[in-house]
């Protein structure tokens, strides 16, 4: 059994801190904006719920955070049920690159001669000069840093095998690089490496007697009274493979705790437009064919009073929250990798095409006009600002509508694209035609509010082709345009920016306990992974860190 996770000193808990008692020092140390804490009304009569089953700890979501949380709670003796709305475990992590920002001076780092420490990890990930580090809750960053070494050993102890540290640091890392997990052999869902994180943990979880209920969607978190008291359990509904509710519902009582690990809100336009109003429904969450990430946990927690944490992390414009995406399919995240035989291919409908060289395409908006240098890198937020700009839809002022990649037969040959299914989705996301004007007329898509004007597209392409002759893009300063778009047939592929992940969520303290709008802990409720706000670090390690803390903490609660 592991030791308890390391928690940062300050900001552990906002509970039992009447406002009058908050002196300036402890207020600042807490890092919390606790303003005017009202006296809690008396707990009303407990909600009358007919419980179908009972368990110590419920974990909502079987991704990186959820699996870790479940194992941690079980390890401390709790009985655990995981509910997952997909037909398989894995969540967002399954489709990820399987990389963790983990260091602190572990065995593998020492073997490479890398000097690292928790202090260095903390320093890197709370760097004020970088927007990515500027807005995080430093108590949570400190907790992550202080848990790195233990978590490394703990994950190894529960079946994770490491591949290697990446070649170069990215994001905020200076002293370490990202550590990739080893591939899981013969994974049928995806060639991505993320299965190397979730499959070993699934195996461990099942061996430990953790029950995983698939195609069960949480619909409500029960609390003693609407905004007061401890959480008591959840309601679920059985869903089909399109997440449509069936008739069977269930109430599961949680004696000790409920851990939200639902993967964030990138796939929920209503929720995500609270932070960036431009991200309307045409933008698809990467890998949403596998994991919807519709903010289910956030919404259920907010409905019983939870606050959101460090929301500025969502709009730093410093990480790739938005990506250019691959093209020719609806859910077009750049690293959306699957097989035609993947069990979720029926939702994806296509594999999509990756653009190796943006000299091979022009990108146009719904109006057939170019809008930016196509070679923009993934973190060029001016590109997204142009892509998300309004182009005249009188009924929709936010969002920028579809972006289409336009290219010709020569580009297909240079890129070695296969422009037929299963690589592309001709049902609204990929079109071909004999001429450019005809191509514009072919584009019929649920987010294209008017037919693309053919003359616009023809003029855009003719003008671009003249830039190839003149040697300079007079409109958007693309590096010297190299190839004309001239040889038939012509193609239009959906290339609308995709949403990578979410970087804010439910406010938690360093014990991963959920904090309400008055700064108080909602007893028994926890959040981790992309459902939790406060630490704008991308990926699995944040999920695992706070999932483990939540699991340990929940298991230690009185029944």
């Amino acid at each position: 059994m592991s030791k308890s996770p390391v928690e940062a000193g300050p900001s552990k808990d906002f509970e039992n801190r009447p406002s009058a008692a908050i002196d300036r020092r402890s207020f600042l140390a807490s890092g919390a904006a606790v303003v005017a804490v009202a006296e809690a009304p008396a707990v009303q009569a407990a909600e009358a719920v007919a419980w179908d089953r009972e368990v110590d700890v419920i974990v909502i979501g079987a991704g990186a955070g959820g699996l870790v949380a479940a194992i941690a709670a079980r390890e401390k003796g709790a009985s655990v049920v995981i509910v997952e709305k997909n037909f398989d475990i894995g969540g967002r992590a399954m489709m990820s690159f399987g990389g963790l920002y983990i260091g602190g001076g572990n065995r593998m780092q020492k073997a490479k001669g890398v000097e690292d420490s928790p202090d260095r990890a903390f320093a890197d990930w709370s760097r004020p000069e970088k927007p990515m580090g500027r807005f995080s809750d430093r108590a949570l960053v400190r907790t992550w840093a202080d848990n790195n070494l233990e978590l490394f050993d703990w994950l190894e102890g529960h079946g994770i095998k490491w591949d290697a540290y990446r070649g170069a640091p990215d994001r905020l890392d200076r002293n370490r690089t990202r550590l990739n997990v080893a591939r899981w052999p013969n994974e049928p869902t995806t060639p991505a490496r993320g299965s190397g994180f979730v499959r070993p943990l699934e195996k461990t979880a099942r061996q430990m007697g953790i029950e995983i209920l698939l195609q069960q969607q949480m619909t409500k978190i029960h609390r003693e009274s609407p905004f007061v008291g401890r959480v008591t359990g959840i309601a679920t509904v059985e869903v089909d493979e399109w997440y449509r509710p069936k008739t069977r519902t269930m109430n599961i009582r949680a004696r000790k705790g409920i851990i939200i690990a639902t993967g964030g809100s990138a796939g929920n336009p209503v929720f995500r437009t609270m932070f960036d109003v431009r991200l309307t429904e045409e933008y698809q969450a990467e890998n949403s064919e596998w994991t919807q990430r519709t903010g289910d946990g956030e919404i259920a927690a907010m409905e019983i009073g939870a606050a959101l944490g460090a929301t500025a992390c969502q709009t730093t414009q410093d990480d790739n929250l938005i990506t250019k995406g691959r093209m020719g399919k609806k859910s077009n995240g750049t690293i959306t990798e699957l097989y035609p035989t993947s069990p979720h291919f029926f939702r994806a409908r296509a594999l999509g095409l990756v653009v190796k060289d943006y000299q091979d395409v022009v990108l146009v908006k719904e109006n057939g006009l170019r809008f930016y240098d196509e070679t923009a890198t993934t973190r060029d937020y001016e590109y997204y600002a142009a892509a998300l700009a309004w182009t005249g839809d009188p009924k929709k002022f936010n969002g920028g509508g579809p972006i289409w990649a336009i290219f010709d037969a020569d580009a297909v040959a240079r890129e070695e694209w296969d422009v037929s299914p299963p690589h592309v989705d001709p049902e609204g996301y990929f079109f071909s035609a004999d001429t450019i004007e005809e191509l514009a007329g072919r584009i019929v898509n649920e987010y294209q509010w008017r037919p693309m004007p053919g003359a616009n597209l023809r003029k855009s392409v003719e003008r671009y082709n003249s830039f190839v002759d003149s040697g300079a893009d007079a409109d958007f300063k693309k590096p010297r345009p190299m190839h004309k778009i001239a040889k038939p047939p012509f193609y239009a592929a959906w290339h609308t920016p995709a949403l990578h992940d979410s970087y804010t969520g439910i406010r938690i303290n360093t014990s991963a306990e959920v904090i309400d709008l008055r700064g108080k802990v909602i007893t028994g409720l926890y959040a981790c992974g992309d459902s939790a706000g406060g630490f704008g670090q991308h990926g699995i390690c944040r999920a695992a860190t706070f999932g483990r803390i939540a699991g340990f903490h929940a298991a230690a609660q009185p029944s």
């Binding site: 690293i335 000299q359 004999d434 001429t435 053919g454 003149s470 010297r480």
Partner: protein
């Protein structure tokens, strides 16, 4: 009159289309119709329906009896081949069905026949083109009705709008296209150097069905005959290893580097922008003055992984 339907023959039948005829339809297009007859409370299956313009253009039969109407199966009617407004009369002729006599009823429907659109593609335009010589381009034309355009004429005009050449479209569509009829057009090079914007026109006359004409622009650069060989060698900054498959542009001339990171271009003397491009590297350029054969070295800087990683 039958006893079962004492008033059937006197019932006022009325006609309706399941889907209205669009306000505009391309000439010669096939339009799907489905006619409903209401007013009879019994099955009229086998009843005849006619669609007539100046003469009868389609016949159909009632095949389905629903709660309160009889319906034909969907059937096609071909739109007129002449542009302009037209009216069809959908008729239920006087007829006996199941021993009952029914009176005639009719429904006029109007629409407008519009010409097909055409659009053009211009490709295989060499660039640069040597002044005072000749060159050829390929032009294709497409009818929005996918009509055969073989035998139709393509005209090319230069940047002053003067005719520069013409071609006749062939009878076989360009490979990989549905109905892009194409031809090569031989052209005389301009006498003046520099960027040229020429146009292609398709005059849609003498086609079986009415079509709208169309035009498109194409561009190329006209240059003096080349005289000096320029070797461009591209290496990666710092590590100095050659970089293959780099796109190299020397003024209007383009090439790609080989495995040794080298590209060879023959150009006339002059001052040029040399630009190189490879995905994953920063773009690089320099100005070079060419008065003799020359070798030029250019370094590419690899972009940090943070800018190229998508995960």
């Amino acid at each position: 009159m039958s006893e079962d339907h004492p008033a059937a023959g006197l019932a006022v039948l009325s006609l309706k289309l399941a889907e209205p005829v669009p306000a505009q339809v391309p000439v010669g297009a096939e339009i799907m119709l489905k006619v409903r007859v209401s007013g009879a409370a019994c099955d009229l299956s086998g009843g005849r329906i006619e669609v007539a313009g100046e003469e009868i253009v389609a016949r159909a039969e009632l095949v389905a009896f629903r709660d309160n109407f009889n319906e034909t199966a969907a059937f096609t009617v071909t739109a007129p081949v002449r542009v302009g407004g037209f009216t069809w009369t959908i008729r239920f002729p006087p007829q006996d069905i199941g021993g009952v006599s029914y009176r005639e009823c009719a429904l006029p429907v109007s629409s407008r026949a519009t010409p097909h659109h055409t659009s053009l593609a211009v490709w295989s335009v060499p660039s640069p083109v040597r002044v005072e010589g000749g060159f050829s381009i390929t032009v294709g034309a497409k009818s929005s009705g996918a009509c055969a355009l073989g035998g139709a004429k393509i005209e090319v005009r230069n940047d002053t709008g003067a005719p520069a050449g013409q071609g006749i479209l062939g009878d076989t569509p360009w490979p990989g296209t549905g109905a892009l009829y194409w031809t090569d057009v031989a052209l005389a090079s301009p006498s003046r150097e520099g960027l040229q914007r020429w146009s292609v026109a398709f005059a849609a006359t003498d086609l079986e069905l009415p079509h709208l004409s169309s035009s498109a622009e194409f561009s190329f650069t006209a240059v003096k005959p080349p005289e000096h060989g320029v070797t461009v060698k591209v290496t990666e900054n710092r590590v100095a290893t050659p970089v293959a498959d780099v796109q190299v542009a020397l003024g209007p001339y383009r090439a790609a580097t080989d495995k040794a990171g080298s590209a060879y271009i023959v150009v006339p003397a002059g001052t040029y922008d040399l630009a190189v491009w490879k995905s994953g590297f920063g773009a690089a350029s320099k100005i070079v003055e060419i008065t003799a054969d020359l070798s030029v070295q250019l370094e590419l800087l690899r972009l940090p992984e943070e800018l190229t990683a998508w995960d």
